[in-house]
Every structure is written in C-alpha cells, then in structure tokens.
C-alpha cells in the first residue's frame, strides 16, 4: 500500500506521496491513515468545478485534483485578473480547501505553473506554498510584456522538465542530458528534441511556453448568450430571486432582440453562498424572448421540483444562460391585450412540458411502415414537423380498421380457434372470457424481411373481432401455422372504441 496524499502536518514530518504505508508508519508510528476513495475525490472535484462556474462558464476538470478555468473575457467583471484570483481564492478557502493557483496564457502553461511551480518555489526560494494565505498565486506575465516579469512572479522557463509530463524514463533522460528547466530546453533547436524525445515533448513545450494555444473543453456546453447578476448580500427570499430573474430575462431578451433571435433552451443557475449550485432548465416549443413568459416557465419549473430549492444561507449570484437560439423576427404587438390563440396554445404546451417533463406532451406522427407500432407513434410536441408520411384516410363506409388504443407491448392471450390457422372463436384476457361473435381477417402483415440481414421474422395475422357484448379487439397470431411455427401464440394488440 502506498501513500496517495498527505496533509500539511504529515508533509512537515517528512512523509511524502508515493512512499509505502509501512515506511510511513515506521517513521511516524502514530500516523493516521484513511483508505483512498477515488470516486469521492472525483465527486468533490466535480462539486468544486460546479461552484467555480460562477467565475466563468468555461470550466474543465483536470483529474485527479485540478481545475482549469478559461477566464477570457471574464476578469473585468471581478476588477481584473488579480480581483478574480483573490475572489476565487477566498471562495475556495472558505470551503476549507488548500490550493495552488496559477494564471497562464494557455491552459497548459497555467497547469504547469500550478502543478510544478510549487516545487520550484520550495526548492529554489524556500517559500513553502502550502496554503494560499501565505502564497501569492504563481503568475506568468504575458508573452509580449516588455517590462519583464513582475517581482515575485514565476517565470515559466524556470519550471523543471518534468512539467512536460513525459513519464519517468524520458524525464530522467532529459535531466541526464543536462536539461533541467524548460528554459534549457526552449533554448535548443526543436527538431533534435522531437527526434530524441518524441513530438509530444515539443508540442507540450510549445503549449507551456505559450507559443501554441489549445483551448480547454468545458464540462458544460457554452451558452449562446446570457446575463448574470451578483448580490452584495446573499438573498434567500423567493420574491427577490423572482425580481432578479425578471431583470436577467429582460437583459437576455435585449441581447436576443439585437441578434434577431429567440431562445429555445434556457438555463438558470443559482449560486449559493456556500458553493452549492442549483440549476434549472426549461425549453420552449417555439423560440421566445418574452421575459414574462420565461419567468413564468421558471416559476412553473421551481414549483414542480421534487426537491424544493433550499436557499440555505442565501444565493449570492444568479445567471441566466440561453443554450439554443433560433431566428425570431420582431413582432408587432397589437393594441388589444388578448394573445393570439396559437400563442396561447404554445404557452400552454410549454407550461405543461415544463411541469410534466419534456416528453410528456406529444403529438401524433405517422411512420412509413406496415408494422402497426411503427406506422403510428407519438413524438414530443416541440420536435420538428416532418410531413413526409401521413395517416391513411379511411375508406368511406368502412368501420375502423385500426384500434384507438394500442397495447405496447402486445399482451399474450389464450385463444380457442376451430383450426390452428383459422379465425379465433373465444379468447381469455385478464381473467375474462370473450366469445367472439364477429370477426374480420386475417390481415396478414409480414415482418420487414427486407430490413433484416437474415430475412427472418414472424408473420402476423391480424383479426378484428367483436365479442358478444359489442367490445371490439384487435388480435393477431404470431407466426404462420406449420411453415413458421408449430404452435403460434396469440396476442391482443389493440382496443377499438
């Protein structure tokens, strides 16, 4: 068993990561050890990443214990990079975390500074950056800065070569070659390095030095647009939150109106003061940028939460994101207050979809198939209309040939027939016997053999039957007697009105 992580005291006692537990116990007999739970660590990291969402929408997890935040265009909201760093540090330290922060021009640079800058500090300058309280964040100056690195800040070229993360063998080889820091490596021509240590070494070097930029993949999809607001004091009252949401919706509507677009998919993030984040999501059937409507749908969503919103000590930030937009021309509002009927219906379906769940409000769609369950089905009401296939119009004067309700899956029934391949005479379903007085069939529907590689599949013989009470059923025999099956089963597939 090996040591995976040590706390501050253990570190001061000289225990290090990757030493065996027996070794650690021999040095410090009273050491307290806990089994490593990687899953719990991952969950914690995910929760922290969720909380960091308040600083930038673009957060990526760098397992096992790192986070990468893309703060492009976000720093000014916090009064510059320094302000953002101190706000982030304060936020995380409040949650009881020990951290190392670094800012870089590229994600790889920041990552290298955070992960290996500490070693450098400890080794070279004797400042143990155990905690943010006594450690300034490592900071790489912009490449084109002419005045040079600010005092106290790290230069990325001073990082050790194992910041490249090439593995033990190659790192040792680099050190043996006398290349100790990234600066040593950067001063040499790249081609021989690539030939000796692989293309990866050169690529990573370029990324860490900021010569090449590779963006992070955020853990959440980036919104098309959105609005956010922060509160001076955490708020817990729902009416304040509703007011703030109205403001946000109005701001977002403004943005959408400028783009001539309407949102289809809205997300509301409520950031609690203790780092927890509540997320609500609504979708609309048609593009919309009406703040009142957005607020109403969110109110509906909040009302239907199985687990009500717990504001705890209050929320200190809210953000409204619009994830999906569609073109929406400006509409001329009428003088009368009444909504157009189509609009009222869209609002109703949206409300029901939000309350019952997106897939619960549906419309009918026809499929291009003979198989009954594929010939007609339902799709969510917000899905696009594809009028490629239409329902068959009934023949004049004919009784209905298809049932009003389709049992999915078909239910097996006991059938008595005079001959095995003849029409049913009597069947038993749900402990009730039905005597068949009238029938029509068989309507033979074969399996879609042209879609199957083996060409197999059982033929169904459908019978429309009526029992002595006048109730009408749709039965089928699964498999042709004799040729496909020796004892075909009977199924009830639908109920007529």
């Amino acid at each position: 068993m090996r040591v995976v992580a040590v706390d501050e005291v253990a570190d001061l006692l000289g225990l290090t990561v990757d030493m065996t537990l027996a070794d650690a116990r021999a040095r410090v007999p009273e050491v307290d050890s806990v089994p490593h739970d990687a899953a719990a660590d991952a969950r914690l990291l995910d929760a922290i990443a969720e909380g960091c969402d308040r600083f930038t929408p673009s957060v990526a997890v760098d397992p096992p214990n790192g986070l990468l935040l893309d703060i492009t265009g976000c720093a000014h909201l916090w009064g510059g990079e320094a302000g953002l760093v101190s706000a982030l540090a304060a936020h995380l330290i409040k949650a009881g975390l020990t951290l190392r922060l670094a800012l870089g021009d590229t994600p790889d640079q920041a990552r290298a500074l955070a992960r290996y800058g500490g070693d450098l500090l400890r080794a070279g300058r004797k400042i143990p950056p155990r905690n943010i309280h006594d450690a300034r964040p490592a900071y790489a100056p912009p490449v084109d800065a002419t005045e040079g690195a600010a005092p106290g800040l790290l230069d990325v070229t001073e990082l050790p070569v194992h910041a490249l993360g090439l593995g033990a063998a190659k790192t040792t080889a680099l050190r043996r070659a006398g290349l100790v820091t990234l600066g040593d490596l950067a001063a040499r021509p790249r081609a021989p390095i690539a030939a000796r240590f692989g293309q990866a070494a050169v690529t990573r070097l370029a990324r860490i030095l900021g010569e090449e930029d590779a963006r992070i993949t955020p853990r959440r999809a980036l919104p098309a647009c959105g609005a956010s607001c922060r509160f001076a004091d955490p708020v817990a009252r729902t009416d304040f939150i509703a007011d703030a949401l109205r403001d946000l919706a109005a701001q977002a509507a403004q943005q959408l109106a400028e783009r001539h677009e309407g949102g289809r998919d809205f997300g509301l993030s409520l950031f609690r003061a203790d780092g927890a984040v509540h997320r609500l999501r609504i979708e609309t059937g048609q593009p919309s940028r009406d703040p009142a409507r957005i607020c109403r749908l969110f109110a509906e969503r909040i009302e239907t939460l199985a687990d009500p919103l717990d504001p705890g000590f209050g929320y200190d930030m809210m953000r409204l994101d619009i994830f999906r937009t569609e073109p929406l021309a400006a509409a001329q509002a009428g003088f009368e207050e009444d909504q157009a009927p189509a609009d009222a219906l869209a609002l109703l379906t949206d409300r029901l979809s939000v309350r019952l769940g997106a897939g619960r409000v549906r419309r009918f769609a026809a499929g291009d198939s003979h198989i009954p369950e594929c010939a007609g089905f339902t799709v969510p009401v917000s899905s696009p209309v594809l009028p490629l296939t239409v329902h068959r119009t009934p023949e004049p004067g004919e009784p209905p040939l298809r049932p009003l309700h389709l049992l999915e899956p078909p239910q097996i029934v006991d059938v008595i027939a005079e001959v095995p391949d003849g029409p049913p005479r009597r069947f038993r379903w749900r402990r009730q016997t039905h005597d068949i007085t009238a029938f029509e069939g068989p309507e033979r529907i074969s399996a879609e053999w042209w879609k199957r590689r083996d060409g197999a599949g059982l033929t169904r013989d459908y019978y429309r039957v009526e029992d002595s009470q006048g109730r009408r059923f749709w039965l089928f025999r699964h498999g042709l007697y004799g040729t496909e099956k020796t004892r075909p089963d009977w199924y009830l597939h639908g109920l007529f009105g």
Partner: protein, 255 residues
C-alpha cells in the same frame, strides 16, 4: 304566487348569484350537435359549448368506448378547426394502451389536431385540466381523470367556470365508481353495443349505447343506441337493413 315575489330579499340574492356565476353550461356559446336529429331534438340542439361534460364507462371494460365517445364529441366540437388536448394518465396507458394515431384517423379524427399530455397522477391531471381549460387557443379538451377521487364539487365547479370563460368544451372521462356531485353540464354513461355485422360476419361500424344520466338543463334521462360514421363525423341510428342488399361474400384482406 311565486316565492321570489313574496320575498324580495330572496329575489335580490338570486339576482346577485346569477350575476356572479357566468352562465355555465347554458349553451350561450352555442351547441355541439350529435348529427342525429332525434338526439339533438331532445337536447335542444346538442351539448353546450364552453361547458364540462362527464363521460362514464358503464363498466371498466367499456372504457375504450367511453373514451371514443368523448373523442368523437371533441372532434365534433373542433369541426371548425382548432386543437384538441387529450390529457391521459400513466395508469390508463398501462391498462388500455397508448392512443394510436392511425386509429384516430380511422375514427375520422385528424391526428394532427390532437395533442396528448400524459400525467403521472390525478392531482397533476386536475392541475393540467385547470390550465387547459383556461387556454383560449384550444377547441376542446378530453380529460381522463381515471378514478377521479379529487374531482369533487368544488374542483368540477372550478373547471366549469374556467371552461365557460375560455369557451373550451371539456369532456371529462371518469370511472363510475367515484361519481359524486359535480358541476358538469351533462353526464353520459357509455357502453359498447353489438354492431350490425357487415356481410361475412365482420364487425360493423362503432356502435355505442349512450345513456344521459344527468343534465343541468333539466333534460330527463334517456337511453339510446347510436352508430358513429367517420364519413361525415356524425352519429346515426344503427340500421339493421343497411347492408342487406350488398353481395354476401367472405371479405378477405391480405396485406
């Protein structure tokens, strides 16, 4: 002498109540005819628009028939266009199966006209019904309340008021076991009836045995057996002799 005349206070109160309650179920918004003159004549032209009508299956096995009747009437209500919202429950879908588009088309109801909302329980159904009946964008609503234990007089009154205000005609399907007082404009009991067979002993057109159980307008209860024809989306009297002249042969259908 009328009581109201002898007690002016009573007459005044009655007037106040009449002013408060919109004339639900009185047919001021028009009526939905059955397309069967004999039936329409008894009901003064049909069922009132902008009102709630209850449909009860005679037994649990008649539920598909009751459902079909409610759908037929909803389709007649929405003859001029407009959507029909069908609120059904998970329990119903488990028991009776899912509503089937081609089956609706066979009944003469355009599937494109119908939206389906599936609710998890009765409270959600009642809430969805309230919202639905307040939406003027709909033509008719078909609300499957199942056992309907929560649909008491207050709840049904609320639905009736919403319906009168928006003009959406609602057909509420509820089990017979739970019937209590309600503010519905009419209450129908529906059962499947043996159809007049087609030549070759094939099941004939949809035949339903209807019974008017209650009517707010004071129409006395009656029973009638009707047939549905999808050609003109109307009811007609079942005719035993309609197809006697057709050649008698076994109807074969092979797809």
């Amino acid at each position: 002498m009328n009581i109201a005349e002898s007690y002016p206070a009573l007459a005044q109160l009655k007037g106040q109540i009449a002013a408060l309650a919109p004339a639900a179920g009185t047919g001021q918004l028009g009526r939905v005819s059955f397309g069967l003159p004999a039936l329409d004549a008894r009901l003064d032209g049909g069922l009132a628009r902008g009102a709630v009508h209850e449909v009860l299956p005679e037994s649990a096995a008649d539920t598909p028939s009751a459902c079909a009747f409610a759908l037929m009437m909803a389709a007649r209500t929405a003859e001029a266009g407009g959507r029909i919202l069908w609120i059904t429950s998970e329990a119903r879908i488990r028991r009776e199966g899912v509503p089937y588009g081609p089956g609706l088309a066979e009944l003469g109801v355009a599937p494109d006209q119908v939206l389906i909302a599936t609710v998890p329980d009765e409270l959600a159904a009642l809430k969805a019904a309230g919202d639905t009946l307040r939406c003027p964008g709909l033509a008719a609503a078909l609300i499957d309340m199942g056992p309907a234990r929560r649909l008491d007089l207050t709840a049904s009154r609320r639905l009736a008021l919403a319906s009168a205000q928006s003009g959406v005609t609602a057909f509420v399907l509820r089990d017979r076991s739970s019937v209590i007082a309600s503010a519905a404009a009419s209450r129908w009991q529906v059962a499947a009836a043996p159809s007049v067979p087609l030549p070759g002993q094939a099941p004939g057109p949809v035949t339903l045995a209807l019974a008017l159980v209650r009517h707010r307008g004071g129409v006395p209860p009656f029973n009638i057996v009707v047939e549905w024809t999808h050609d003109d989306r109307s009811f007609r009297e079942p005719t035993l002799l309609r197809r006697i002249s057709a050649p008698v042969e076994r109807r074969q259908m092979v797809a």
